[in-house]
């Protein structure tokens, strides 16, 4: 008789993408191995070859239906870098508004639909109850709040990009369509409501943080490296240099994206179609880094807008810098929502946002290669294209946001599995009464 067994969670739910979880337990419940099995991939790296480079952004954004805007923009920026093109400043502002609008709706979706069910219904609730549909039914105010926050972001994406999913207007040299005064007025008018909803979201998030403090502080806390963008130390998502922070909290690298190959390693595990990106100089698995909200707020010295900075200070006061608390990702995400709303308001009140001078008309293809990087909701997103003299893509390298996190997720899962199966720590966690009963 042996108590060795393998646990398979198939599929991991409330996840964007295809994942399964394998936990191998040895004698006495010792955790021998934890695998995060990402079970699908579609080979964009290859089938973007041979395409007209200016059409590639519209193909490449189909990597993700939840975050097409960052893919569209990273892709356009890569083509612009390869062709030495600098779009007009108004186009850059519209793109920033675009990216922040997506950040808002994606973070809203993540917080309310993917994460909140665990906290509002409780981690031990019946699986049939642990979802956003139940939140909408049982806590209609929270449900409505979620839907309105997401709607503002998605509507703004659509106003700029023509469609909320797989938008189309960004092209090498700028934007094919200016942002209209009519749209600007409409979104400014709705801004007061958005700010109120954001405040309500922050209140809810604070309650969750307080209620689940024991979990945040003690569960699945794993030191890793962190990767994120900054502009002169400020938090930044559209255009800046990249920083790598080590587990001790020291900034060990600060480089322009085009030099990424010196710092990025891509480990191919035998058990996942998604590769594990890591800090190459430290080797694998020691150099496993994480990206996304927690990484961004770890590597940035400060947030560029006042309310977001206040929120960051509050987090740092409680958890320090860096924080390795995996559950603090949710808190960091809320700080970023505040940041996105503040930045959107700033951009919407900038007269240049409705400028019609948003596209160059003399863009010429050339032979070269270019790297485009933005911060996507799930982390630093990098597209690298080589084009020939006619502007046809001959080769690509894509390091998508989520892959920066897979190695770190596996580390968190290993830690959590040990806490659960070896030490039964989950039985002693101090948990609140669920808001949904």
């Amino acid at each position: 008789m042996t108590d060795e067994r393998t646990i398979r969670i198939e599929p991991v739910t409330r996840l964007e993408g295809h994942g399964e979880l394998t936990i191998k337990l040895g004698k006495g419940g010792k955790v021998k191995d934890v695998q995060f099995n990402i079970s699908s991939t579609r080979f964009f790296e290859k089938f973007l070859e041979g395409r007209l480079a200016e059409e590639v952004p519209r193909i490449a954004e189909r990597i993700c239906g939840i975050c097409p805007v960052p893919h569209l923009l990273a892709s356009v920026k890569a083509v612009e870098a390869a062709w030495d093109v600098n779009p007009p400043s108004a186009a850059e502002k519209v793109r920033r508004l675009f990216l922040n609008a997506k950040q808002l709706s994606s973070h809203g979706l993540h917080f309310f639909a993917l994460a909140a069910p665990d906290f509002l219904a409780g981690p031990f609730a019946d699986p049939s109850q642990r979802n956003v549909v139940n939140i909408i039914k049982s806590l209609p105010d929270v449900g409505k709040l979620a839907l309105q926050v997401m709607e503002y972001g998605q509507d703004l994406v659509s106003a700029i990009g023509g469609k909320s999913i797989h938008p189309v207007t960004a092209t090498p040299g700028g934007m094919l369509n200016p942002f209209s005064e009519e749209h600007r007025d409409n979104f400014l008018e709705r801004m007061e409501d958005l700010k109120e909803w954001t405040t309500d979201t922050v209140e809810l998030a604070k309650k969750v943080v307080d209620d689940y403090w024991d979990v945040i502080e003690n569960f699945a806390v794993v030191p890793t490296y962190y990767l994120g963008m900054h502009y002169r130390g400020n938090y930044e998502i559209y255009d800046g240099r990249l920083r790598v922070m080590n587990p001790e909290g020291e900034i060990v690298e600060n480089f322009p994206a085009k030099r990424y190959r010196k710092y990025y390693g891509e480990h191919v595990p035998d058990h996942s179609y998604a590769t594990h990106i890591y800090y190459k100089p430290a080797g694998y698995p020691e150099g496993v880094w994480r990206a996304n909200s927690l990484a961004r707020i770890n590597v940035a010295d400060k947030m560029p807008t006042p309310l977001a900075q206040e929120a960051l200070e509050e987090l740092r006061e409680k958890l320090g810098r860096p924080t390795h608390a995996t559950f603090a990702y949710h808190w960091a995400r809320v700080i970023e929502m505040i940041q996105a709303v503040e930045e959107m308001e700033k951009l919407l009140t900038d007269p240049e946002i409705v400028s019609t001078d948003v596209k160059l008309s003399d863009v010429e293809p050339k032979k070269g290669n270019g790297v485009g990087v933005v911060e996507a909701p799930r982390g630093t997103l990098l597209h690298h294209y080589w084009t020939d003299e006619k502007g046809i893509v001959t080769k690509t390298n894509l390091v998508v946001a989520t892959n920066n996190n897979i190695g770190g997720i596996e580390k968190s899962l290993m830690k959590a599995a040990k806490q659960v199966f070896e030490n039964k720590e989950h039985e002693n966690l101090n948990l609140p009464d669920p808001m949904i009963k």
Binding site: T22, C64, S164, I165, Y284
Partner: protein, 303 residues
Amino acid sequence: MAKRVAFTQLSSCWGCDQSLVDLHLGLLDVIPELEIVYWPAVVDYKLKDLENLSDQSIEFGFVEGSCRTKEDEHLLKVMRKKSQTLIAWGSCSCYGGVQGLGNQWSIDELMERKFKTADTVTNGRIPEENMPGFTDHVKANTEIVPFELRIPGCPPTPENTLEGLTALLQGKEYKLPNKTVCDECPKEREHKTITEFHRTHEGKIDPDRCLLDQGYLCLGFATISLCGAQCPKVNTPCKGCFGPPPGVIDHGAKIISALGSVVDMDAEELREHFPDTIGSFYFTDYASSYLSKITSRKNKEES
């Protein structure tokens, strides 16, 4: 009484899911009508729960994505067995989707590039442990199992999905419109003869005039109208992501033959303008083209 529905994602971008969520407050009217029995993106039921349902016990089964892995094929077959009405939801499901462009290469070439020769890869190998394995090529789901309904689009708009869902809930017939994007496009079309094509980044687009008349390859004339001409309305050429109107089997072939009547160019000139014919004329539906099937057969024979 609420209807039993399932939403399943095969290999895809999950944009169809996001599109459904984009009904936002409209969801409040729809949700009470649905009993969700499987939807991994939202609800915590596992594959075993789906497999354990009685056959035909799902009233409406929505399938997003196409079969890039053998796990996808399994899921598609399970959904077929469990569903009374199976809906091909989105262009991946209806035509194979953008990943169908991968059919230009063999699966070995695709794997080689991703897992072995990518610039940042430090230990090339093909993952195998607990991995499902890939299909040799991508096909439209409708070529693998029969479907009762198709709602194409990359993704379908929230209104498209709502319209289909409402028809199903009310037991009414849902028919795809026999119209093209041009029928919904507000731009003025003079049906000019085209002597030169511009690439999308070139020049300045006149916002009031037909994009095709201006020499931009806008595929609205050969693409089904479900989207409300979203792209041309923001000065961006249609790439045909919703696929052809009903009755047209090979979208790209239709585009090329229709172009013949508006273009004053010989075949050689046309080829020079479009060095990537597959990417230009078969954006999300290459997998359902005759050309793709011939290439796939050839790749198979060679391996």
